[in-house]
């Protein structure tokens, strides 16, 4: 089943009034359960592509279909609801809410869905147990290591059972061993739950695990190779 389809997507930024083309004529399709890595040198458009796939940014031209829905036709409230229900995000700098504990951070997006406290607590505990971080439940972000915070961020990303998880350089701030552990977790989630993972990264250990590698250069798809892992 196709979860993402991009057709002739182009993104042009104005940098101090000078137009800069970040993406040129990108067309691709991603199916449910894929484990995709978007790679390429700095400035190749990896993050821009990930942002567009995550409905955080809109293309200058072209069409973006997420689960068959044309994102450009949705209002900002509908896009927010779509992101909440269908997408999960993992950021390079973890970006947990500093005033909340690990458990509360995981619960937060379920709260936005309007789930009652008992249900979201049970679900958060279930996911944290699966990721081996239940002992961190009462810790605040500043009491956790980078790897622990990123695992909590993964828990937050998957707790609403999204169809796609988008991870922007998730291992960039982690040492190799912790990064590998995190990727193990994500691979496991992908295998067990058939969850689609899309990474933007130039970390070799992430690229090594890709089962599909999309290589960008100067905003265009240079290579799109499946079965690389």
């Amino acid at each position: 089943m196709e979860v993402i389809r991009l057709q002739h997507v182009e993104k042009i930024y104005a940098d101090n009034g000078v137009p800069v083309t970040a993406l040129r004529d990108v067309s691709l399709s991603i199916a449910q359960g894929e484990f995709v890595v978007i790679a390429g040198p700095s400035g190749s458009g990896k993050t821009t592509l990930l942002n567009i796939m995550g409905a955080l940014d809109r293309p200058t031209s072209g069409q973006v279909l997420l689960e068959g829905e044309d994102v450009s036709t949705l209002t900002s409230a509908q896009v927010a609801a779509f992101r909440l229900e269908k997408l999960g995000f993992v950021f390079q700098a973890y970006n947990l809410i500093p005033v909340l504990t690990a458990m509360e951070n995981v619960e937060f997006s379920m709260m936005l869905l309007g789930m009652d406290k008992a249900m979201r607590r049970a679900r958060a505990l279930e996911v944290m147990r699966e990721l081996g971080i239940e002992e961190l439940a009462d810790k605040r972000p500043n009491e956790m290591s980078g790897g622990q915070q990123q695992r909590v961020a993964v828990a937050r990303a998957i707790v609403n059972k999204p169809s796609i998880v988008l991870a922007d350089e998730p291992t960039a701030n982690l040492d190799t061993h912790t990064g590998a552990q995190l990727l193990d977790i994500m691979e496991n989630m992908n295998r067990v739950h058939n969850l689609t993972f899309i990474f933007s990264s130039h970390d070799p250990q992430v690229i090594d695990r890709a089962r599909r590698l999309i290589l960008l250069r100067d905003g265009a798809v240079e290579k799109d190779v499946s079965g690389t892992s």
Partner: protein
């Protein structure tokens, strides 16, 4: 959970939170103090005016209040006094013969109101007896007079000196009488002290050719709020030939000032609110700008603009609630303390006496004053938070996430 996040956000930068709270508390306390002091002062002016000579109710012959001439005396003194004597709620009353006249000494003269009174009953109605600063109050029926210290200064007389009172008699001639100054009074009203002199009733009646007639009965009630009811009862008993007026009709300017007070207060509240609102906007904006990346993440994971807006507003609401509660408690405590000890403004006593207020102001705590502060300050805080909250919703997640 939104409430929890907002609450913890406040504790995150405790110094900023304390600064905002202090400004809210100071705002509430200022409003309460302003209200209680200025209302207390106007109330005091009214009470002084009523207590000095006016009383809560006055009875005259019909038309006297519009044209104060001695020809308009009380038609039947006995009937009027009996009506007052039997009236429920009356604490004290005094019959009077006031007239406009001239008081002269060897060194000068001054116009004013010569009031003939029964020394005993008058001392229970007006505060003159208790404001004697030199000599004594009236004792009997002799030819004695008590005058204001200011008037004594003007006439260059002192206790023991002689003065001559002159006024137009009921028959239209000039009546005069020699009086000896037995006492000097000093009330809180400089104007009153310069224009009033009190003599025994019989002397005034004789000087004015009034016989046994009186012009006025001043009444003090157990409860001032009963004035309208007692006046209505007296009117019903005495009929159309009598004029029964309450203090509201006798000092309409002061009463109007008191009644307009709430409207004047609105202007002050708007000024204090405006002064506060910019501080709130500034602080809340700083709080939003410090969390741009966090707002970006929240929006990225699906938080709608309305919730982002609510979160900032809830923070402001917490600040408003805590600040107002603490401010009201502090303001009430401070007002009660000042009420106990009084605010000594004797440095400005001359100016205050010109307005009929005493040198020691007693603040008066009002429910309306507290209510206004409880409404105004939280409203101001929430209004001040509107722009920062709206600003937070204008963030684009894609750029906000990368904000450093």
């Amino acid at each position: 959970m939104l409430l929890l996040v907002a609450w913890r956000n406040l504790r995150r930068n405790s110094r900023r939170t304390i600064i905002v709270l202090v400004s809210i508390i100071v705002g509430v306390v200022s409003l309460l103090l302003y209200d209680s002091i200025s209302y207390g002062m106007i109330r005091q002016m009214l009470d002084n005016s009523v207590g000095a000579s006016i009383g809560h109710i006055q009875i005259h012959g019909k038309g006297y209040n519009d044209n104060r001439v001695i020809q308009t005396s009380i038609p039947d003194r006995l009937r009027a006094e009996n009506a007052v004597r039997g009236m429920r709620g009356v604490r004290a009353w005094s019959s009077r013969v006031p007239s406009f006249g001239l008081l002269s000494s060897a060194q000068g003269s001054s116009g004013g109101v010569i009031v003939g009174v029964d020394a005993h009953s008058e001392s229970r109605v007006s505060s003159i007896a208790s404001t004697i600063v030199k000599g004594r109050y009236l004792e009997g029926e002799g030819r004695e007079v008590v005058i204001g210290r200011a008037l004594a200064g003007k006439l260059h007389v002192d206790v023991g000196d002689k003065v001559v009172g002159m006024a137009s008699t009921r028959g239209g001639e000039v009546g005069s009488e020699l009086f000896r100054v037995v006492g000097l009074f000093e009330t809180v009203s400089a104007d009153f002290d310069k224009t009033h002199m009190f003599v025994p009733m019989s002397s005034a009646q004789e000087m004015l050719g009034m016989g046994g007639d009186i012009i006025e009965i001043a009444i003090v009630l157990e409860q001032p709020e009963q004035a309208e009811r007692v006046a209505a009862d007296l009117r019903a008993q005495l009929g159309p030939d009598y004029e029964v007026l309450t203090y509201r009709e006798l000092v309409p300017l002061l009463v109007a000032q008191l009644e307009m007070y709430d409207q004047m207060l609105v202007v002050i509240y708007v000024i204090i609110g405006l002064a506060m609102i910019f501080g709130i906007i500034n602080t809340m904006l700083m709080s939003v700008f410090e969390r741009v990346q966090e707002f970006g993440v929240l929006m990225a994971i699906g938080m709608r603009n309305a919730k982002v807006f609510s979160m900032v507003m809830i923070e402001a609401l917490y600040l408003a609630m805590i600040g107002t509660v603490v401010g009201v408690l502090a303001g009430v405590a401070l007002t009660l303390l000042l009420r106990e000890v009084g605010i000594d403004l004797s440095v400005f006593s001359e100016g205050l006496r010109a307005f009929g207020a005493g040198a020691v102001i007693t603040p008066e705590l009002r429910f309306n004053g507290i209510l206004a502060a409880v409404i105004t300050i939280p409203l101001t805080t929430l209004l001040g938070a509107l722009y920062p909250a709206w600003k937070a919703t204008r963030l684009l997640p894609v750029t906000a996430i990368r904000h450093v």
